[in-house]
């Protein structure tokens, strides 16, 4: 192996360090959530009951399945199964679109009921309720941006696999992109119980 060989150890270490900063970013949002939950338990309860458990649970299953497909794509590329890798990556991107579609339905139903940031209904209501929905839009919006970024990265990776720039021997880029995708899943694993279940 020449010295020009990619340093996959360093590449993965760098990716993990970046993922830790992401964990701390979402951690900050979860701290805000828990502080305001202790301050406004009743209003948070009322807010939480207005979220649709079916949408939330469906999206959880969609994301967990997308994570499985992403993890399988790493196995596929390492065993040299190019077509299967492409299929699994397309499946992951497809799941990202389903997730965003459900999120769109969920948000538009809320908007329809006059619940959106700075809505007159929320301004007139108790402060705890408007804080709950502000945090809901902040958290799921930030998460949604990560889903979009993940889907774009995954599509780009698929093109690279198609061109064989990512292949059986050189595939750390695919590994790192799937790591990012799993982080998106990890964050949702906490959003789901906190917003949809425990209130």
């Amino acid at each position: 192996m020449s010295h020009l060989e990619k340093d996959s150890f360093g590449a993965k270490l760098g990716m993990w360090l970046f993922l830790f900063t992401e964990m701390l970013l979402f951690g900050g949002v979860f701290i805000l959530y828990s502080v305001y939950l202790t301050r406004y338990p009743k209003e948070f309860g009322l807010g939480g009951h207005q979220l649709d458990l079916v949408y939330g649970a469906t999206n959880t299953v969609v994301l967990l399945s997308s994570s499985l497909l992403a993890a399988m794509s790493v196995t596929a590329i390492k065993t040299g199964a190019k077509k299967l890798t492409l299929g699994l990556l397309s499946g992951t991107v497809g799941c990202a679109f389903i997730f965003l579609g459900i999120k769109y339905l969920e948000w538009s139903a809320k908007f329809h009921h006059g619940i959106y940031p700075n809505a007159p209904k929320l301004i007139a209501g108790p402060p705890g309720e408007s804080i709950f929905f502000s945090l809901y839009y902040l958290t799921t919006g930030l998460h949604g941006i990560h889903v979009i970024v993940g889907a774009v990265l995954m599509s780009w990776t698929a093109v690279m696999v198609h061109k064989e720039r990512i292949n059986v021997t050189d595939n750390v880029t695919l590994e790192n992109v799937t790591l990012y995708w799993h982080l998106v899943d990890l964050v949702w694993i906490f959003i789901f119980p906190l917003y949809y279940l425990i209130l």
Binding site: S8, F9, K12, L13, W16, L17, F20, M23, L24, G27, G28, I31, S34, V35, T38, R39, L53, A57, T60, V61, L64, S65, S67, L68, A70, A71, M72, V74, T75, K78, T79, E175, T178, L179, H182, D185, L186, I189, F190, F192, P193, L194, L197, I198
Partner: protein, 95 residues
């Protein structure tokens, strides 16, 4: 780092088993929060979410098979976050 070149390829079967476990845990967390447990349902839901994250990190993200350095920095990040949460609540609850 001689072990870095040793590839750890997880079988499709093993990955699918992890996925099934994650779905079962999701069902469990929905059920446990539908019954009236009071404040315990918060801890139960968070405990299940932590187990689910552990499975995703260990297997989907290959952490179980990475060098020890990766796990050390993971715990540094988690303890940092736990410190932030602990410090915040020390202020919020005893102000």
């Amino acid at each position: 780092m001689t072990e870095e070149h040793a590839e750890h390829i997880l079988s499709y079967g093993k990955l699918t088993t992890v996925w099934v476990a994650l779905l079962v845990l999701t069902a469990a967390t929905i059920m446990v929060t539908r019954i009236e447990l009071g404040v315990w349902k918060v801890w139960a839901a968070l405990a299940i979410a932590s187990v689910k994250s552990g499975l995703v990190i260990a297997f989907f993200m290959h952490m179980k098979y990475e060098p020890r350095l990766f796990r050390i920095i993971l715990f540094v990040a988690l303890f940092t976050l736990a410190g932030f949460i602990g410090g915040t609540f020390f202020d919020v609850l005893y102000r």
